[in-house]
């Protein structure tokens, strides 16, 4: 085989492999992802489907439970229908009522059941933010 041809074959094989891997990556990323929704958008949630919810923890709603917490969330701008969240696992230090948090899980009977250790709180940029009570 002449050198030119050998090069072409190599290039073809390399590009083919890269394309195959990229397709696999793209395909699985759609399967493995969880849809991001606001609390108010979860009314038509598909049972058993995984969602990542971004919202604000409502005031006077946090209750500690065995191994976790229950609380209620609203959209980050404070509007919309609230949803109850049952969460087990580690509660991050900056978690507070009135803060924006993210949690992944699914909706069961109108209640958002968070997966273990998926709760994260957005780092507040200031020490004391105005409470929007």
């Amino acid at each position: 085989m002449d050198v030119q041809r050998k090069r072409q074959v190599r290039l073809f094989v390399a590009l083919g492999a890269a394309l195959l891997l990229a397709t696999g990556l793209i395909y699985t990323s759609f399967n493995a992802s969880s849809e991001a929704r606001l609390p108010s958008e979860l009314t038509d949630a598909v049972p058993g489907k995984s969602y990542q919810m971004v919202g604000r923890v409502m005031h006077n709603s946090v209750k500690e439970t065995e191994g976790g917490i229950n609380f209620r969330m609203r959209d980050p701008d404070g509007s919309g229908e609230p949803i109850k969240v049952i969460y087990t696992g580690q509660v991050p230090d900056p978690f507070r009522e009135g803060r924006d948090v993210m949690v992944t899980g699914e909706v069961k009977n109108g209640v958002f059941v968070g997966d273990e250790d998926t709760l994260t709180t957005k780092c507040p940029s200031k020490f004391s933010e105005k409470r929007d009570q």
Binding site: A32, S33, S125, F127, S128
Partner: protein
């Protein structure tokens, strides 16, 4: 720029709250060290720091190329000035990000710095990343300069590779400090979460790593010219993207500074950089042709190319995962996110193969390695790897995780290959120059800083990756609820909750726990994890219960070891304390209203004195509540998270080795010689 920084720092140190930035990020009680560093916890201050560092590295780079590259330097200077103008312009015209904005009326005290950020590594972490990001401007500017001036030989690469190395080193330091902070401060127990902002610092790091390797091919063999300019453009764009991501709030991240107005400007700059550079590269394709072609796949340049492709694949995976929310929204109309397991699944295999090539690369010769040559350099590492593989299967649980086992085996291969190479060269030197083997290694290393610095970096990274593989594959995590006096068994360890502690300092209430940990019946460690509740500093004098309205931070109890780390964090039950605090607050409030207020109304001139006495009384009441709570010895249970993860310490050790190696390589080799001759 220096003057700007000095003025702002002076305002921070002297509590000049007429500056908006000072009022919102510092307070009178903030410790001086944190006052000094609070500048870059703000949006405005961090932009100023960016511009300041840029002015420093630009000056250094121009000094370093004083009599060289006369045709390239003017263009490079123009590019660096352009970037500098962007940042200064942004501060002046961007809206709400001018660090010199003043407040009127001037507040009495500032809001203070978030206590989560009051940690030494959090203070050094952002400027390290900035120095890393900003240093990339230099090779980028020179690449653009070289393209415009049509001088695309290796001269610009040689003049700026030091800056690429420095950028790499500081990015590494920044990333590892962030990981370390997360591990010891966040009460979460992990060091990496694939958060968008972490990824944003990882991507330029990966591409810079690729660049540092591929420029060697251009220097030695005159190849990969298009590739190198493309890499540095990508690196610099990703650095800007990182700066943008932190500030824009387009992706959900725990880091977000909050939504801000500067996002579109950054996007515009990134657009200009990417489109302008691409156009420039395409228009110069004729002069960017390789002088040679790769002779054989069994050559160092071919292996470097493979390593480059792997690094880029890694970066592409991270990029795809990070921007998946935007991509999916664009393609399907619904925003979806990818979690850590997805990242792990794809990055693990690539990282494992990279370790293999880390071992192979330095052993290959340029152009082509002969069969004899290959046998000579690969036999011993292969034998070592095989022995390591068998030992790991026979004596450890490593076989439970396929990727971890493979990682350990390949690490053995790579490390033995590095040692073999070092020893072989040292023996040759010893033969010609005499002296001990260590003297020979040192003398080789000083003569060829880049190569031996590189070896050290490789060694460090392999150690680091072994630590990552071991700790992520064989971690034990448990949440246990204990009353004082109770014990729990986890693996070979027995944890006993000896007693709770409560105390107070100027800023916070501190709930802690004394833990006794035994391993196999022998005392192993006494740990003291705490959780601190910070009082809100603004507003009128607050009650004791207000401690629970502010931030809470964790101080984990950590016993680090060569074999494994024993990590605990505490989640105290503060309900009873809060009940007592509210009772005390009610009593205190009533006392103030009924007894003190009438006195103040009758003698307004004594208001200040009485207010001081009142806050003193509140302080003593707080101590009383704490004391009472302590003495009552209530058997209130607390929740502990216990993580036993093997070999985490090696991550930090590996990182330190790698950074030392990088500094060794970046050290200007002329300095010692010049000193000697003078």
């Amino acid at each position: 720029m220096l003057i700007c920084v000095v003025v702002i720092e002076h305002a921070f140190m002297t509590d000049d709250f007429s500056f908006a930035v000072v009022a919102s990020h510092s307070s009178i009680d903030t410790p001086p060290f944190y006052k000094f560093t609070a500048m870059w916890s703000s949006q405005q201050g961090s932009l100023l720091l960016w511009a300041f560092i840029l002015s420093v590295v630009s000056t250094v780079s121009l000094a370093a190329t004083k009599h060289k590259l006369r045709d390239v330097v003017p263009w490079a200077t123009a590019v660096m000035m352009g970037v500098s103008i962007f940042f200064t312009g942004l501060m002046l015209l961007g809206g709400g990000v001018n660090p010199f904005e003043v407040l009127s009326p001037v507040p009495v005290d500032g809001t203070g710095l978030n206590p989560l950020l009051q940690h030494p590594s959090m203070i050094i972490h952002p400027p390290m990343l900035y120095i890393g990001y900003v240093s990339l401007t230099v090779p980028f500017a020179f690449a653009i300069g070289a393209l415009i001036a049509r001088r695309v030989d290796a001269a610009w690469v040689k003049s700026t590779r030091g800056f690429a190395l420095i950028a790499w080193t500081f990015l590494s330091i920044g990333i590892i400090l962030g990981a370390r902070w997360s591990y010891t401060e966040l009460g979460w127990g992990g060091y990496w979460a694939w958060d968008p902002v972490e990824n944003a610092s990882m991507m330029p790091w990966l591409i810079t790593t690729a660049y540092i390797h591929s420029i060697m091919v251009q220097e030695k063999r005159g190849m990969l010219k298009v590739w190198n300019v493309s890499l540095i453009v990508a690196s610099f764009s990703l650095a800007l993207l990182g700066t943008f991501l932190v500030r824009s709030g387009v992706l959900q991240s725990i880091h977000a500074f909050g939504d801000s107005t500067v996002g579109p400007y950054f996007l515009a700059l990134i657009g200009v950089v990417v489109i302008g550079s691409t156009w420039l590269i395409i228009s110069r394709l004729d002069i960017l042709k390789s002088e040679r072609r790769i002779d054989s796949l069994a050559s160092r340049e071919a292996v470097f190319l493979v390593n480059n492709l792997l690094l880029i694949a890694l970066c592409a995976i991270v990029f795809w995962g990070t921007f998946f929310p935007l991509i999916s929204e664009f393609l399907t109309g619904t925003e979806s996110t990818l979690a850590a397991p997805w990242f792990d699944r794809y990055t693990t295999p690539v990282a494992v193969i990279l370790v293999l090539f880390t071992g192979i690369g330095p052993m290959m010769s340029w152009r082509r390695i002969s069969w004899q040559g290959a046998k000579r350099v690969f036999t011993i590492p292969l034998i070592v790897a095989a022995i390591a593989f068998v030992l790991l299967i026979l004596f450890t649980d490593a076989a439970d995780s396929f990727w971890a086992l493979l990682m350990f085996t390949l690490a053995a291969f790579t490390v033995s290959a590095l040692i073999q190479e070092t020893l072989r060269a040292a023996k040759a030197r010893k033969k010609s120059a005499g002296g001990s083997i260590f003297a020979a290694i040192w003398s080789n290393a000083v003569r060829n800083r880049r190569r031996y610095g590189g070896y050290t970096v490789h060694l460090g990274l392999v150690v680091l990756l072994v630590g990552v593989a071991a700790s992520s594959s064989f971690e034990t995590k448990e949440d246990i609820k204990l009353k004082p006096g109770q014990s729990a068994e986890i693996q070979d360890y027995t944890v006993t909750y000896v007693k709770p502690t409560v105390s107070r300092n100027d800023q916070a209430l501190i709930f802690g726990a004394d833990l006794q940990v035994d391993r196999d019946g022998e005392p192993f460690a006494t740990l003291h994890p705490t959780r601190q509740y910070h009082q809100v500093t603004t507003g009128a004098t607050r009650g004791i219960a207000s401690y629970f309205d502010g931030e809470a931070t964790s101080e984990v109890g950590l016993k680090a070891g060569k074999r494994s780390d024993f990590w605990t964090s505490l989640e105290p039950d503060t309900e009873e304390f809060e009940r007592r605090a509210r009772m005390a607050d009610a009593l205190f409030g009533a006392y103030m209203r009924e007894k003190v207020l009438p006195v103040v109304q009758q003698n307004p001139e004594r208001a200040e004195e009485i207010s001081l006495a009142a806050s003193d009384l509140l302080s003593r009441t707080t101590d009383k509540v704490i004391e009472g709570y302590r003495e009552d010895d209530l058997a209130i249970p607390a929740t502990f998270r216990v993580i036993i993860s093997p070999m985490v310490t090696w991550i930090w050790i590996g990182a330190i080795i790698a950074i030392i190696g990088a500094l060794f390589a970046a050290w200007p080799s002329g300095i010692f010689r010049r000193r000697k001759s003078s």
